[in-house]
Amino acid sequence: MAIPLVPKLLRAHLAELAAEDMRHDGRGRFESRDVELEIDCLTRADGSARVRMGDTIVFAGVKFQIMKPYPDRPNQGGLMCSAEVRPVAGRQWEPGPPSPQSIELGRVVDRGIRESGCINTEDLCIIPGEKAWQVILDLFAVSDDGNLFDAFALAAIAALKSATVPAERFEAGEDMPLEVSKTPIMCSYHKVGGRFVYDADRREELGGDERIHITLGDDDHVHSLQKGLKGIFTAAEFAEIMNEARSRCAELRDLVDKAIEGE
């Protein structure tokens, strides 16, 4: 990513606003931008979702491949999640091999889904030791106006929940829905002007400090945490955002469930 311009002025501006408990776009501290979720929006994908949070827009696409199970897990299939932020998504994103930022994005989303156990890899086995399904989840950013993490995570779980295993195309039986037993949801908080805010936009990311990503599963179980960027936070600050994350994750889980039910 290119070095952002005038972050000092921006930081000072955001700090002034924070002192008045305000944000530059008029939102409350833990208020999100408008969220839109659409599923089954990519014809060639076996499962897909589009998420829009303000001016941040992402797609998630699921594809299946046949793999040979790993020798130490002969009765299990695989799950692979990768994020690509191509230069289409913003002038700060440059062409070339995946940047550390986009690798971190993919891995943090991957951990939340994997560790929640929402996909039972044993269900993906076709013939033990010989054939199994590999689920490949590709995350693709169209427009980055901040908080790609939450947008990717939301698109990821919605795409998985809408996916169909294309068994007929691979001559491996009948098509069937992919079994996804849980709905892990990520909520991200950025330190802006000395306090954490939810769903930071691009300007708040530029003029802010550290960020914390929390993925909660059903029943508020914690499945992944990640602290990114330079910064120091207290236990009390973390307790506060964890508490906020619980109620916000529940709301977003409802949004996913409604989109899947309405299919």
């Binding site: 990519l42 230069p87 590709d138 693709f140």
Partner: protein, 238 residues
């Protein structure tokens, strides 16, 4: 361009697999402003193709060695998303996407008034998120709409369409089966106001008459596509 196998692309009444007549263009839609953080953008659906084009710039060109003293450089990238085809595509550039990026850049450079922005760079990003056939044509078309949406001065839009041949019959605007099993493909980039060309490729086998027929189909199809482009830009203005 392979054999047909069992696929019959046109029936005895001259109706194609997707229900079109041989001179008919696939349904399409164009919308501008789909990448809110970009300076200009467009999304085009064309048959099952779904393409997003975004424009950034003019901006400083770096590294300096890519700068041109007398004009802007167009930095064009064509890419297919991993989930855009039946079999997943491994992310990253390949020889096909490099070639398409190159000919697309050269087509667009022919209309953009690059001499107005010396030493600068204009980035054009073309992302195929769903592919049927004719993604390069949809990409060039969407990119020229995105450039216009970004307010980049151009002498004309570029309309790109492809016609070809299946079962020895010339057809307009190839679909997936016709592209896979057909005998010829003729994509062109046309300037709608003058009928001049800025992009031309062809592969396959066409007789002189068939070539002329395919050429004429493209010229007619370009008028249909152009109408959609202009309407999308006008809607974006409102």
């Amino acid at each position: 361009m392979g054999g047909y196998g069992d696929v019959q692309c046109i029936d005895e009444n001259g109706i194609r697999l997707d229900g079109r007549k041989i001179d008919e263009v696939r349904p399409m839609s164009i919308e501008v402003g789909v990448v809110p953080v970009a300076d200009g953008s467009a999304r085009m659906t064309w048959g099952l193709n779904d393409v997003i084009a975004a424009v950034y710039g003019p901006m400083e060109a770096h590294p300096r060695k890519i700068q041109r003293q007398d004009r802007a450089v167009l930095d064009v990238r064509y890419n297919m998303a991993p989930f855009s085809t039946t079999d997943r595509i491994r992310p990253g550039f390949n020889r096909r996407s490099r070639e398409i990026s190159k000919v697309t850049a050269e087509a667009l450079e022919s209309v953009v008034l690059t001499e107005l922005y010396p030493r600068s760079k204009i980035r054009v990003e073309i992302e195929i998120i769903c592919a049927e056939a004719g993604t390069r044509c949809a990409g060039i078309t969407a990119a020229s709409v995105a450039l216009a949406h970004a307010g980049i001065p151009m002498t004309d839009l570029v309309v790109s369409v492809a016609s070809g041949k299946v079962h020895d019959i010339v057809v307009c605007d190839l679909n997936k089966e016709e592209d896979n099993y057909g005998e010829a493909d003729l994509p062109m980039g046309i300037l709608p106001n003058s009928g001049e060309l800025v992009f031309l490729q062809m592969d396959g086998d066409l007789s002189p008459d068939q070539f002329q027929e395919a050429w004429d189909y493209n010229m007619e199809a370009a008028k249909v596509v152009h109408k959609h482009m202009v309407e999308a830009l006008k809607r974006g203005e409102a």
